[in-house]
Structures are given as structure tokens and as C-alpha cells.
Symmetry: C2
Subunit: 443 residues, 2 copies
């Protein structure tokens, strides 16, 4: 990879150098009789050796695969990106301090209008220039922890994020905002919910479905809502701040252990499952929607428990699922399997003996439902009772994704299987809703 | 297993025989200082060797594990089940013929009040005795094809069901009702949607969330709605007939390729995803909700394509997913993998090389989204474009479960990989919604 050609390597890089093109230049690519013309933009991560990305006049980015017969011509000189930061706005005295920790994702990026490329935009000055209202709400301290697409986020990133949040809390901030891509935000929110216990101040995870350069972007609204909540919300829990509906009128705060991405593109993609969101912000006013919650109390001592064991699988059951996959996980040394079963908590009886073998080898096996909404009841049908008798744990109304993260966390806390089973079925971060709670379903 | 003790074997059977207890008798079980008293009921499938099931006075069934120290006493003589069928009601002349094919599930069973046990209740006389209104609507021909919990239904059952439906259609019925458990009904509905092409009459799949002996049962309402639609609906497609809301006021008909179980216990558990239901029945009147549909036309010649290849996996991506699982499937001779990715169609980049290897070995790899709602767009981010460039197919707004079933079906139709890819991405049974369709989200 080259400094001047961020993200490019191999054949793609050679072709660009041969054409004398630089990032920001207008180029024309000709291949198999087809033509693309646009601005050569940097790749935000190291790509394969074959593709170059150009921003077309329409504003869309397109990736073109370079073949031996492909021709690249430079047809216009680009304006080079200038990275001089704009000057910071004057800070008001006496505002609360808020830390913004960025892990990547659309909200943490900003299209550079000169190159069309996306780059991390989380210096304080970048933020103030995109969302000037921030300077009225809080003194913002920013940290770019990672800059990765959220589908690449794994448990090692959860651990780093939890530790970084803890450091900022120790500095005495009023609250933390964690910027993250939407794709696996639900998983990371669950991870932080278990890793950050006894929080003194709120940890507000935030994302956007559309980048800040698009007219319908939800980035500024969500970020403003998140910073306001970090500065002043009465709760001290890990939550996800996103649009409540497709309108910009309200932001809701979902508990990190109960939230799921439910739509590929809508701005109200995140939903609290089997519970209400924790709180809503409308016209700058925060209303609590759940009465019992962890209250803001800066004197409280945070209990950081950042360890996760990655030898846990989430296995979605389906007709004709090969039960040997369970044996394979056991052979590979996995310590836990979350089954995403059907209905009230079932899998085909052709999986029973493999499950039995896993449990006999001290693997923790627990059940959730691919229905997503509703609660398990493995006592209704005899196959459910058979699974319980085998030692499969019923995880009530816990989300499959949260159950995976929780079991990874539980096995990071203890090597004792019985203790792990006890922790997994105990309600630690509101991941199990009380039975009395009204079960509002879906959107 | 014993004829007199259906479902019992091994230690449980020995203990029952020793106590001189028979099915239907009142027994008392004492174990570790605890006591259970109730009617000994048959098991609907062959259970393990350890459990006996008794119906408590409260009406609940409980499974008790037999240990060496367990004591069973017979404390009352049961009334034996009498299987003399009630006489059939008089059939009205000139009513349409409807076939009801049962594969099992709650709707197809009936609690025997004398034994407390559940048994298949799908002789015509059974049905008429449970739902006497049926005799006003249709002349019903019934067939008990299987009697299995739907989590045990696999592709071999889909094949049998498709063939059986075809036989009934050849006999000239006005429509077919297929009774099925709710757990995997969505998968089977998709399977029949691909296997039964060019339908002359409707195939109405039906289920219930609560058995007919419970006061809040949805069994009678759903069955009546299904039979009415089979007899008289204007459409000739594979649909799922279930409650539209928690009230009994309307039944909706979901297209088999677009429907999913979304709640563990609610009566309106089935939802059409990324589309409207095909039709609604209210006050016996059927209203079409989608304008373009397959019309009833008894002269049309059904095209049965019942073959499925079970060497296809549905793999739900999650953080820290072990990419070796993909290599394992390839080694096992799998021909297709449906990825249930994140967001617009992504998986962690640590899975890329395993996906590449699978594609190089001629395995069909296709993407769907675990968001459930919304459509893929793998052109937005460069990692999505990288996957496309590798040869991963983007399945638009197809449900992951439908995609699995479809790929199993596609690979049952052709051994040619290119032809399989073409079929998989072609819209065959409305499994891909047109982009112009209003995307109503969730419940």
C-alpha cells in the first residue's frame, strides 16, 4: 500500500501509477467496451489488488475491477485534499465535558468533497465544523480508537472499547459517546452492557444510516441527541441512540442488551425487542420510558469486566441442519454454543445426540428463538422438555445476538462450567425482561 | 416401545409396568421428597428412556425424570380412550371438495379429554366434530401424511408433501389445506412455493399457536378461514393462513415465499416481510391486497418440481465467527451456502478468504441480511463490492430462510453451477419484491 494511494495495492496500484493518476484526479476507465469517468477516491481500508473506486458525476461510488485489458486515462487534474483543520469555535464556560470515542462507521466519517473519499472526521474541530451546535452543549474531547467497518468489529475491539471508555470515565467526564457502524452495533452494545458494570455516567452508542454528506442524513441529529444525553441524561446505562421513526422529531435510547438492527436502510432501523426503549428525546427533553433504571451518580465506582472468550458459536437452526457442525465446534475446543432455535425453543430431534455429546464434554449449550419476538417456553412440548432434561439452558426472552455476546463474556469471567451456567441465566444487564412487562411487538 | 404405552421405552416403561399403571390411570410419582399426581398420558413421539408425562389437575402436562429412587403408584383407574368416531354430519349437495393434508402440529392435534394426551385429529369426522361449520362450506377429504413436530420437518417431508398435494389436485379438488406446526411452517411454505408451479387451485397452509382444547385457541378460526379460501379464493398460490392480529376478526394469507414466524406465542406470529399479505378474509369476504397474483384456473396444468438438495447451509454471521466453518462445509461436499450477513449485505473481512475458497470449489455462495427487513445493497461499501467481485450473489430482499430453501430447490433442479446461480437470482415465486413496492416494516 502506498501513502499517496490509500487502500490501493498490487495490480490496481500499478495501473494507477502507470496512468499518472493521483487521488482526486478525474480518470476514465475503459474495459470491455464500457466506460466509467469520475474522481479517483481513496479506499477507506486496504482492498483487494484488483479494484479501484471512482466517484461518478451522479455522486455514486463505483468499484471497477482491473483486468489486463483495462485502460486507465487521467482526464482531469484533481484538487488535492487540504487537511488544515478549521479553527475551533469559542467554548462556553461551565459546559459539561463529553468524550466521543470513535470506532468507525458512517457517523464517524465524512466525505471529503474535494476527493469524494470518505475519511474519519472525529477531531473535535471536524465535529464542530459539521455540527456547530455541539459547542453550545458540551466541551468535547475526541478519540479515534479504530476506523473500521463494524462488520469487522470482533471481541478484541469490544475489550479495547470498554477499556477506553473506562479511562475517559476516570477523567471525570459527564458522559461518553461511542460512534460505531450500524451493522454490528447491537452486538457491541450488548458487550459493553456486560463489560461496564455499575456505571456512574451514561455510555451512549451512536450511529447513522446515511453519511453526513447526504441530504437525508441522520448523522447530525443522532450525534446531537447522543451528546446531549451524555451531558445531561438522568440514566447511567449503555444505550444506543438512534431515530425513533423515519422523521427527525425524536431520538430514542435503546438498552444495549435489548436492541437489534431490524432494517437494512431505514433510519429507525434499531428496535428494542420485547421491551420499550429506555428513554426518548424530543425537543431536547428526555423522558424515561422505563421506570426502573441505573441512575446517573458520578460518585459510583465503575466495575470494568472486559474479558470475552471467543470460543462461542451462535448456531441458527434450520431444516436439514447438519448436526455434525455441533461436534465440529466441540472438537475445535469451543466452550459454548447458543442455539437459535424455532418457536418456543426447539430444534429438530436429529440434533439431539450431538447436543448431548457437547454437554457431556462440558460445553455450555443454551437456547434462544429465531422468532426474535416473544419468550421461550420449553415446557410446552415434550421435545422442549427433552432438551431441558439434557441440560440445554432456556434463555427466556434474550436476543440470540445478546446471548452469544453474554456467553462469550461469561466464559471470560469463569472457567467453571456450573458458575458459567448460573451467570448466563442470571439477569445482569436487563437482557431478560420481567414476565409482567407488556410485550410490545415489532415496529 | 409398547403399543399400550405409546412413546414410552426403557427405564420409564419398566417403572410404569412395575406399578401396574396404564395410560389414562391416575398415578402418583414420588422423588426426592417431591410428589406429582395426575393422569398418565401417552407421548406423541418416542421419548427418551427416562421421562414420563402426567397431566396435573391444573391441566398442565409435566415431564418427570425417573431415577432409581423414584416411586410410582397407581392411585386411580383411568377411563380408557374410546376411539369410536362420531357419526358424520349430513353433507350438503353441490359443495366444493377440499382436501386437508396433515403433517402434524398443534392444529392437527386434539387433546383427548379422557387421557389428557394429544392425538392426531384429522379424520373428517374428528374435524367436523371440532369445527361443525366445515360441513356447510366444503366436502372435506382428509389425509394424515405425517404426525411430527414441525421442528423435525426436513426436505424429505417437503418432497412428500408436494407430491401428496399434487395427487389431490389431480383428483380435481377446489383447493388444498396443509396443516403444519408453526415452528418451521415458513420454510415448508417456501419449499412448496418453489415445488408447486403453475398451480390451478390454492394451496393453503394453516397452523395454530394454541391447541383446540384451550379457550384462546386460534385453531378453529384459522382452519375455517383456510378451508373457505381453499374452496373459493380467487388466487391459486401457496399461502399461509393465520390471524392478522390478536383478535379473531380477520385471517390473512401470506405468500409462502415471504412469510416468517416472528413471535414465539402470539396468534399473529406470521408476518409478510417486505411486502403486504396477498389477501385478507373478514366476515367471510376475501379482499386481495396485492393486485398481481396467480389466478384460480382449474384448467391450468400443475408443474411439480419436488426435488431438493440438502447439501446447503444457512450460516448466520456474527462477530468472531470462525471462517473455518465455511471450509468444513466445502469439505463435506456442500454445494451451497446462504450467508445471513449484516446490514446491506456484509460479513467480517476475516471470512473473505474462506468464501473465496468455497467459490473456487464451485460452491454457490449468496448473501441475505439478518436485519430481516429491507433490501441488500452491496455496492454502497467497498467490502460489499469486494464480496460481489469474488462471486457472492446478492439476493435483494429475499428472506434468509427462503433463500436457504430456494438454493436447496435450485440445486435439486440442476447440477450446473452457472445455471444454479441464474435460477437463484431469478424471481420464481415472488420471493423478490419489486423495488417499487412500498416497504411496510414489521408488525
Amino acid at each position: 500500500m502506498s501513502e499517496e494511494f490509500p487502500g490501493y495495492r498490487g495490480q490496481a496500484l500499478r495501473f494507477l501509477k502507470k496512468a499518472g493518476a493521483e487521488i482526486g484526479d478525474v480518470i476514465r476507465v475503459t474495459k470491455d467496451g464500457e466506460k466509467w469517468e469520475g474522481i479517483l477516491i481513496p479506499r477507506s481500508e486496504i482492498g483487494d489488488e484488483k479494484h479501484i473506486i471512482i466517484k461518478l458525476k451522479s455522486g455514486y461510488n463505483v468499484g471497477v475491477r482491473i483486468e489486463s485489458t483495462t485502460r486507465i486515462e487521467k482526464v482531469g487534474k484533481g484538487i488535492k485534499p487540504a487537511f488544515t483543520p478549521p479553527s475551533l469555535p469559542k467554548q462556553k464556560a461551565g459546559l459539561p465535558k463529553v468524550a466521543i470515542v470513535s470506532t468507525g462507521g458512517t457517523i464517524a466519517s465524512r466525505v471529503d468533497y474535494r476527493t469524494g473519499g470518505v475519511r474519519p472526521a472525529l477531531s473535535a474541530s471536524d465535529l464542530y465544523s459539521v455540527v456547530p451546535e455541539l459547542s453550545e452543549i458540551a466541551v468535547v474531547d475526541t478519540e479515534i480508537l479504530f476506523s473500521v467497518y463494524s462488520e469487522n468489529i470482533a471481541s478484541k475491539h469490544w475489550i479495547e472499547t470498554a477499556k477506553t471508555v473506562t479511562e475517559h470515565i476516570k477523567k471525570g467526564v459527564a458522559g461518553i459517546v461511542v460512534a460505531h457502524g450500524t451493522d454490528t452495533l447491537g452486538y457491541t452494545a450488548a458487550a459493553l452492557s456486560f463489560a461496564l458494570q455499575n456505571l456512574p455516567v451514561p455510555v451512549i452508542m451512536v450511529a447513522s444510516q446515511r453519511s453526513a454528506d447526504r441530504p437525508s442524513s441522520d448523522a447530525a441529529t443522532n450525534l446531537l441527541g447522543a451528546v446531549k444525553a451524555a451531558a445531561a441524561a438522568p440514566f447511567a446505562e449503555v444505550v444506543v441512540a438512534m431515530h425513533e421513526t423515519v422523521s427527525d422529531e425524536s431520538i430514542v435510547f435503546h438498552r444495549g442488551s435489548k436492541v437489534r438492527k431490524c432494517h437494512t436502510s431505514r433510519r429507525d432501523t434499531f428496535k428494542s425487542i420485547n421491551t420499550s426503549p429506555l428513554a426518548r428525546m424530543e425537543d431536547d427533553k428526555i423522558t424515561m420510558l422505563i421506570k426502573s433504571y441505573g441512575k446517573r451518580d458520578p460518585s459510583r465506582k465503575l466495575n470494568l469486566k472486559p474479558d470475552f472468550d471467543d470460543r462461542v458459536a451462535l448456531l441458527k437452526f434450520h431444516p436439514d441442519l447438519n448436526p455434525q457442525i455441533i461436534d465440529w465446534y466441540v472438537e475445535k475446543g469451543y466452550r459454548g454454543i447458543i442455539l437459535e432455535g424455532t418457536g418456543l425453543g426447539h430444534v429438530g430431534n436429529y440434533c439431539f445426540s450431538a447436543i448431548q455429546r457437547a454437554i457431556e464434554k462440558d460445553v455450555v449449550v443454551a437456547m434462544t428463538s429465531q422468532c426474535i419476538w416473544g419468550r421461550l417456553d420449553m415446557n410446552v412440548y415434550d421435545q422442549g422438555r427433552d432438551l431441558l432434561a439434557m441440560g440445554v439452558l432456556s434463555l427466556e426472552d434474550m436476543l440470540p445476538e445478546t446471548a452469544l455476546v453474554k456467553l462469550m463474556w461469561v466464559l471470560g469471567q469463569t472457567t467453571n462450567t456450573e458458575e458459567a451456567k448460573r451467570l448466563l441465566t442470571e439477569n445482569i444487564a436487563n437482557e431478560i425482561s420481567p414476565r409482567t412487562l407488556h410485550e410490545k411487538v415489532g415496529y
